[in-house]
């Protein structure tokens, strides 16, 4: 009985620590992102000139957090109070719930190693659109509503290529457990199935609504999208939830395609796994930040057309190709090791070339049609 009790307490403590972990990390990631974007835009970003934000303004986010906590919470008159207040809570809850299955290290450094870990990630993130719908609906604001519509159509759509790409590591590993997926990556999957990694990354960027997919909160069009009416700490919750989601997808990408906690000396010092994982995640996170700083915003129809006409077919073709290539190699007796990886890589590269070829053909055709049409329009 005491064993069981100890187990329960250990799990609860682990869950608590794991829930705090992203919150703490994100505080510094926000600072980092602001610095990087500042440099990209030829600015300095946050500095400590005239304030007490610490060296390099490292604690700027903490100061912002304290400021935001002290601000008044304004709930619009027409708003639906219950739903309005519940939405930001849900955002943060969902963002943190995913962390329950993320393995920070080979053993122990994980709340629970579900044998359906990868599926759990997908299932939990299926809850995310609701916070946006709830926020958009309860605000009684047309910008909020438009933002919610955009967010939902985008997230629901990009979930499909995301899941299709996620299936490929699962297929190569033969398990849904994230630990097993990491253990199977003697060669990181990004070098085995680069196309899957590519489409997973794109889908993730769209899922978290980072530029160039930042339509749900496009500030030049619809104020701030679904959280237009939020202020104070409730706005803070959305802001925080968004950054946690960025971090989460970076971590998941690292787990699925970059080998997770694997790295030198992890066998001797297990907690080093967490460092490796966070380093990899930071790398991916910075890719997202660079997107953010460098890309213009797309239109909603472009975003949706890109998903349904390119990402989803790409995901399907990639899945079928990998499955066939893998099975063929297995029947040829190449079931393991680097030969298998090399074979899959070749299959991926061939597929990638084929896709580029098809796209350039389609592009040429479209250009030809446009040039046909143009004189006609001019004449009319």
């Amino acid at each position: 009985m005491t064993g069981l009790g100890g187990e329960v307490i250990r799990t609860l403590l682990g869950a608590f620590a794991m829930a705090l972990f992203p919150l703490v990390v994100v505080v510094f990631l926000i600072w980092e992102a602001r610095k990087v974007i500042g440099r990209m835009q030829d600015r300095l970003g946050p500095t400590n000139a005239g304030t007490y934000a610490g060296p390099f303004a490292l604690f700027q986010t903490v100061a912002d957090g304290i400021k935001i906590l002290t601000k008044e919470l304004i709930i619009p008159t027409g708003a639906d109070r219950g739903v309005f207040v519940a939405a930001p809570i849900l955002v943060v809850t969902v963002a943190i719930a995913v962390w329950a299955v993320i393995p920070l290290g080979p053993t122990g450094l994980q709340v629970v190693d579900l044998d359906i870990g990868a599926f759990y990630v997908v299932a939990i993130s299926a809850l995310a659109p609701f916070s946006m719908i709830m926020a958009g609906w309860s605000s009684r604001n047309k910008y909020a509503e438009v933002g919610a519509f955009r967010a939902v159509s985008q997230i629901v759509g990009y979930e499909i290529p995301q899941v299709l790409a996620l299936l490929i590591p699962v297929l190569l590993t033969g398990s849904l457990s994230l630990q097993d997926i990491i253990r199977a990556q003697d060669i990181a999957f990004i070098f085995v199935v680069p196309l899957a990694a590519f489409s997973f990354l794109i889908a993730c960027v769209a899922e978290v609504g980072r530029l160039p997919f930042e339509l749900a909160e496009a500030d030049s069009e619809i104020v701030a999208g679904y959280f237009t009416e939020y202020s104070g700490m409730m706005f803070g919750a959305f802001y925080l939830g968004e950054f946690i989601n960025n971090l989460t997808v970076s971590v998941i990408f690292s787990v699925l395609f970059l080998g997770g906690w694997r790295g030198p000396w992890v066998d001797q010092v297990p907690w080093l796994g967490a460092v490796w994982l966070m380093a990899k995640a930071l790398l991916v996170f910075n890719v997202l930040v660079l997107f953010w700083a460098a890309m213009p915003r797309l239109r909603i129809d472009q975003v949706l057309a890109f998903n349904w006409k390119f990402m989803v077919p790409l995901g399907l073709v990639e899945l079928v190709t990998v499955a066939i290539a893998d099975k063929t190699m297995e029947s040829l007796g190449v079931a393991q090791g680097w030969e298998r990886s090399a074979g899959l890589l070749v299959a991926n590269l061939v597929l990638g070339l084929a896709i580029v070829g098809v796209l350039s053909l389609v592009g040429r055709e479209a250009k030809r049609r446009r040039s046909f049409r143009r004189p006609g329009v001019g004449a009319a």
Binding site: D80, V83, L114, D115, I116, F119, Y120, V122, A123, I124, A126, L127, P129, F130, I133, M134, W137, E145, A148, F149, V152, V156, E159, L176
Partner: protein
Amino acid sequence: MFAGQVVFLIIACLMLGAAVRVVTSRRIFHAALWLIGSFFCVAVIYMLLESPFMAGIQLFIYIGGIAVLTVIAIMVTKGGMHPDSHTLGNGWSAAIVSISLFIVMAWTITQLGFPNEPGMPVAEEGLALLGAALVDPGGYLVPFEVVSVMLMVVLIGSLYLGRER
């Protein structure tokens, strides 16, 4: 065992409460949200039954799929976003039907008698068994394939019926 029962009771009460709110909410959007709450409680009950996969399916299909669809349908329906749009047209007859259904089910359950044996052991590798059953010719291969054809029909059919004319 006792703790499990307490948790079950709490979750069951939450689920029932959410379900009651689904039918009593005056705004249809609230009804949809309560429905999601009810679905979520079902997922928790699956977790209590040590079936995380079913819980995931519940979240993924019912909340991520069906509920999202419901909410979108409400959002795009004229007047669906406004208060008091949840008109209880035939409240009494619906009540009679559901109460009689409840009585029938309760009666049936009391008639069936429950087994005395402890529950069946959870199969090791249950997920693998489930996956194999879906693609095994001696299992559910044909239904699985028929479903895929059905989804194709649904997709093309709804595109055809719903497109601008």
